[in-house]
Symmetry: C2
Subunit: 364 residues, 2 copies
Amino acid sequence: MGASATTTPELDAMNGGDGRFSYAKNSFLQGHSVNASKEKIGEAIAEKLDLKILLSTSKTIRIVDVGCSVGPNTFLAIQNIIESIERKYQAQYLNINQKPEFQVFFNDLTSNDFNTLFSSLPPNRQYFAAGVPGSFHGRLFPEGSIHFFYSCIALHILSKVPEELLDMNSPSWNKGRIHYINAPDEVVNAYATQYAKGIEIFLDARAKEMVSGGMAVMIFPANPTGIPYSQTFTGAMFELLESSLLDMAKEGKISEAQVDSFNLPMYVPSLEEMMELVQKNGCFDIEKMELTSPGVHASMTNTSSMGKAIVMHVRAGMERMLIQHFGSEIIDELFNRYAKKFEEFPHHVLPSKKVQLFVVLIRK
Amino acid sequence: MGASATTTPELDAMNGGDGRFSYAKNSFLQGHSVNASKEKIGEAIAEKLDLKILLSTSKTIRIVDVGCSVGPNTFLAIQNIIESIERKYQAQYLNINQKPEFQVFFNDLTSNDFNTLFSSLPPNRQYFAAGVPGSFHGRLFPEGSIHFFYSCIALHILSKVPEELLDMNSPSWNKGRIHYINAPDEVVNAYATQYAKGIEIFLDARAKEMVSGGMAVMIFPANPTGIPYSQTFTGAMFELLESSLLDMAKEGKISEAQVDSFNLPMYVPSLEEMMELVQKNGCFDIEKMELTSPGVHASMTNTSSMGKAIVMHVRAGMERMLIQHFGSEIIDELFNRYAKKFEEFPHHVLPSKKVQLFVVLIRK
């Protein structure tokens, strides 16, 4: 048995609370992904989820949001999943008086602000709610206990930064960069290997936790084959952050060594990489795996207010990590610089591209 | 179906965080109760919990701590329950390679500091942990999903103050008091009726949530028949608080009306009252119901350091409630006065008495 999640040192979660820079107030991009995927999830449930199998061993449907942060997106997504399952139930059963009960587990890192999450739970929710602290790179639930896993914009987070990026004697030393944009193959490979390890652990854990016939829906940033990473939306967001930090290092406001030793614990895989990892795991049937648009269009990001909102989005997601490494004094200046760079950026190359992967798996 | 917990307006939880006045640092009295009950719980599990019945329908044992607050007591209690169940498992089974997994739900009001609870979870725990926000005066879990309920020093909390205590035209108007110590029968009855309603809802909810053969262990303050409430430990703690508030009202530091409209949402039942409520519910076999000592002895409370610790204990538990009603300005003075009164109190009449109820129920 388990709870191995507790052995992995955890990264920092998103900004908590409901203040100006909180995730709760700056998660509209994830919100667009939730909206854009709503119909697709409904279809997957209608077509591929067999409730007769699930309810043969349980009167309760247990749903997990992996990497839920603090809301409100998670509540919208869960509501959509439950409504879709209820519609499927009515289609599969005649006796709707014996409706299943729903138990929803909201999972994120221990440092996630669960107090804010809990206090903003929808008052009239039709499910029993629980919070589960811990990394998804490990076991979180008892064997065979979960019927539906959902994850939106979380699986690109690594359990840790690849160690060789910090090794001055390694060809993977990531000097002058905070990610793998425009980096030598060794750096990209170090990231890719770390990511593959993490997803293997993730899939292995979920396979143990799910019941046969259970469904996993995962939405996360992906890199369309043939398009340079720096020209994707995620890539561009990180490159502008790197460039802001390098400017500040040049001016002596932070040290070069500080930038050298900072690396974003994130990786954006291709469809092919993910396909290979799921097949290697072997416990799941792949019902769907396709590149989609994140639901944010070039016309939207072209407005100044949207630009500002995107900067706030990056700040909500990364501020804690940046403060831990660089200290809190530089944060305001860093994001002012970042905002300026963002304004000058050629937005038309950006989010109309299909840079998200929508994956539906069924546990064999 | 459910989640009716969400319809009850919730009271404030204990002080969160780990600061000077936090529950985490001032819960030694509950700690004594945990220690004093450790053996009794082990015995109850060894003698009365039938794991063959429980594990015939589940590979996982699901345990709940109802009213867990933020730790550390809840972790000690849960550890003891799990170790006792594992011992029983070894006694009941030959094949110990198929050990059950444990999932533990930590429940308390939504205003409980779950962030502190989660960050202090034992790193090497042998169970999957989840937090469940919501009042125990309502449903918290799906039907037939829980094998073991535990609650220590929580069930004396009412879901709300009886309304008639605030009605100037009612014989239950509780003028000049904050509780029912030395109050007319109408006030005591209003409290008792509210308590009975709450426990009926509690037992009804737990009966639905538990599997047949599941066990509930509940420890809470109780009033030994024939002893005036004011002479019990809990009664005395509240009377000294009342007296401190009345002194401040006399000096005009708070208004009399403020004291009149403040009533503690707590009730301490007798064994007979609880027995009747469980029998009325009808879903449980009463395996044990006895008055016990809380594990704090007169000799311990007679020391000055213990006296100070008890004052801190009361502050950790009630500060939020008092601030909400009286404002934060008066709190330091109130507890200074309380501490002085406590020093002058005849401690020898106190906690050697059996003022806790230890209850073991089995779901029919």
